[in-house]
């Protein structure tokens, strides 16, 4: 039998950071030129933009009127209601932690960082509101504790932090650094490889010693913590009240209803004075419209899609005309028409606020696009599925609702989220019927104030950043869900 020799090492120039650089940035002369040109261009942009943001730009136009951008003319006395809504959302975020640890962790970090920044940043803000904002951080933890600890023996989070996680992380980082260093030297100065290797070994040993010292502190600490944690475990189990999907869903729905009540208020309840719809503005109105649109446009869109697939000619034609007309015209013409025509269909004495008109229009607009997505998804379901369902004795409508629709929807999760994103972006157009959303607030700040007339760039960059954060987060979640469900990989 031939002896199995150890695998030979690849050439030094093909692995490690050097190999990575060669492969990804300098694989050919033309590639190298591209890299250099792009790097210079990038550096130029970053330096100039950075200098502008830090030195030249005057951010007073943002800092001095943050509430205006975020909530519009919402009455100051009722701000606490909004911060409570935020706390509810934080709890919900914490509740998702165990289901999607990766996504929830990133979102919690991002969300927490924003809360911390706004809560601590020096601008006009009452200490009460700052405190309420900072409370969001423990609120995420609370949400985490309210969900069941699927088989963990103690509060896993605590143990992970104390039980040597830090030192092992240190070890790993040190080894990775040493390996990288060795491969660089091996590629560039092979004669010095021996020295470099010895240096790296010494470095790893030093870090290991350091992490052992850390362990000496951390392990007793973890042991000490474990006892109270064990004692706490039953209590925590009892606290995990949202232990089934149904309970979780109930929690979500209750939280949303409470949020709506808090935002808009109820007549006659002390402390919950109703807020006039036109006073709800800024980012809040964009979010509310988007939320309303998202919740309503999916079912309407599904209905339209089913109508378009239906065998009833009149229903089918009506749905086709509705979908195609709405998709064929710009949203702002629809907003304009809704302002003039929708009120006519209602009794004369019923004075409907623009907010509702905008909400209805955006929802209908979005549902036409949603219908096309749903239709595409359902068309992609293999016809064999429907045949199998018929063979099992399901009726026509049962086949559609139980077989075709769920599979069709699963096919188009990315498209649905994409539609949600564009719906959120479309809420920026309600200025056209005179609502004070985030964009309009920005425009008013710039054009309505002699003082800030030259600060347009700061304002629009800020608004762009706000929208971007929301849209990018949504597309990030979509990619995650896609990965989890394995869409397209079946």
């Amino acid at each position: 039998m031939t002896a199995r020799v150890a695998a030979p090492l690849p050439p030094a120039t093909t692995i490690g950071p050097v190999g990575w650089l060669r492969k990804n940035l300098f694989s050919s002369p033309s590639n190298s030129v591209v890299t250099v040109v792009m790097a210079i261009l990038l550096a130029w942009i970053v330096v100039n933009l950075g200098a502008w943001v830090v030195v030249q730009a005057d951010w007073t136009v943002i800092v001095s009127r943050v509430p205006l951008y975020i909530v519009g003319l919402y009455p100051y006395e009722a701000y606490w209601r909004l911060t409570i809504c935020l706390l509810l959302i934080s709890v919900l975020l914490g509740m998702t932690w165990r289901a999607w640890p990766d996504t929830a962790r990133r979102f919690s970090y991002g969300f927490g960082a924003i809360m911390l920044f706004v809560g601590v940043f020096p601008h006009e803000m009452a200490p009460v509101h700052r405190a309420l904002l900072l409370l969001n951080l423990p609120a995420i933890g609370l949400g985490y504790m309210l969900t069941p600890r699927a088989g963990e023996s103690g509060p896993g989070l605590l143990e992970a932090i104390a039980g040597g996680a830090l030192s092992s992380m240190l070890d790993r980082a040190a080894v990775r650094l040493a390996t990288a260093w060795c491969s660089v030297v091996r590629a560039l100065l092979p004669s010095l490889y021996g020295v470099a290797f010895r240096l790296a070994t010494a470095w790893c040993r030093a870090v290991a010693a350091l992490s052992r010292m850390l362990d000496r502190v951390a392990i007793p600490l973890a042991t000490a913590l474990r006892r109270p944690a064990r004692a706490l475990a039953p209590a925590l189990d009892r606290a995990a009240i949202f232990s089934t999907p149904r309970r979780m869903l109930t929690a979500v729905v209750v939280a949303l209803v409470v949020t709506m009540i808090l935002i808009l208020g109820i007549d006659g309840v002390p402390g919950l004075d109703p807020v006039a719809p036109q006073d709800v503005g800024g980012l809040l109105i964009n979010l509310l419209l988007a939320f309303f649109g998202i919740v309503c446009s999916l079912p309407i869109g599904i209905g339209l899609a089913l109508g378009r697939r239906s065998s009833l000619p009149v229903v089918k034609v009506a749905c086709v005309i509705f979908i195609e007309v709405i998709r064929g015209v710009p949203l702002i013409t629809l907003l304009f028409m809704s302002r003039h025509i929708l009120p006519l269909t209602l009794p004369e004495d019923l004075n409907v606020d623009r907010v509702y008109l905008a909400g209805i229009t955006i929802t209908l607009f979005s549902s036409a696009y949603m219908a096309e997505n749903v239709r595409g998804g359902m068309a992609a379901v293999h016809p064999g599925q429907a045949e199998a369902a018929s063979a099992l004795g399901l009726r026509g409508w049962q086949t559609t609702l139980l077989i075709n629709l769920p599979q069709g929807l699963r096919n188009i999760i990315p498209a649905i989220v994409g539609q949600f994103i564009s719906l959120f972006k479309d809420t920026s157009l309600v200025y056209f019927i005179g609502m004070l959303d985030l964009v309009e607030m920005g425009r008013v700040s710039v054009q309505g104030n002699q003082e800030f007339i030259d600060n347009g760039r700061e304002v629009y960059l800020f608004i762009a950043l706000v929208f971007w954060v929301f849209c990018f987060s949504m597309s990030f979640i979509s990619r995650r869900i896609e990965g989890n469900l394995g869409v397209g990989r079946r």
Partner: protein
Amino acid sequence: MTRLLYVQGVPIWRNVVALRWAVQVVSAVVVLSTIALFLLNVAREIEARDIPFGFSFLGRAAQIPIGEAVIPYDPSDSYLYGLIVAGINTIRASVLGVILATAIGILVGVARLSPNWLLSRIALFYIEVFRNIPLIVQLLFWLTIVLTLPKVAEGYVVADTVYINNSGIYLPWFEAQNGFWPWALITAIGAALAVYAFRRLSRREIETGQPSYPLLAATVIAVGLSLVALLILGPLAIDIPQIEGRFGRLQGGAQLSGSFMALLVGLVVYTSAFIAEIVRAGIQSVGKGQTEAARSVGLSGMLTLRHVTFPQALRVIIPPLISQFLNLTKNSSLAAAIGYPDLVSVANTMTQIAPAISLFMIVMVSYLSMSLLYSLIGNLYNRMIRFKGA
């Protein structure tokens, strides 16, 4: 009596055909009456509240100014003519936008697939930034950039011919002289000849295998003929913009107004981010095996791209690309927010005196017909490319 309700021994309420008909009729009645109710309601209210409606105003003088017009316009012209002028403005922005957005989108999409990590990351950054910010915010931002340019008197002047300032960009442009139409005719004939030569030479290349350079020949014929005629007939003069009068107004040349520039840049940047994603997905949809097979039969990189990758990627790219073109056209209506006189913007101004509902019905019908045109093109393409078996 009950006999009548039986068909071939089956009661009519259990007969599949009868049931189907009943459902059809009921659904038709429900849908049609809902629509009728809605329309009647609106019509009654329009009458009751004395809301202006009708199309007789179209012939009257509009008496509103339109800032930019490709064809001559005067406030004493009729509403209809004003709307046409505005429609041409919409088409101008859309067509230019579609061309530029496609070009940039393809560049960025290809860059996204580059083996160069840095280039691909920059392209990714471009895509993720611009498609996740509402267009209206981008337009307003570009407008502030344009507005921070210096005034006309202090504006940038490039080579004494191109003026850049806060009212826009002024470029030298051609002015038709006497021989223009003969020259245009000769150029058109040249183009036709070039197309013919291109086809002829391409076929020859295929038939005989001899390299025949069809593209080169066609370019030489088209450009050469046009240039020769240009030199002989002298049909075009170049009109250079100049600062005139006491108030320093710029006259002559071609003017691209500030709001038009902002609109164009915004539309192009926003749409190109989406197009880049479409192009990337299209090229990636062609499997790696295809390139490998092409390479293994000896096709070079360029030939592989031209005969294997591109034709297949195009089938995936074109349909969503056309829907992006439609989106761009519809999005050009946001011009209303930055003061470019497009269809919606002008119609909105007209509503101050003319019936709003009628005006916006016209606007919607115009956009609908543009959409129809796009989907017609899309359907034609789909029919053209459908290949058997796949």
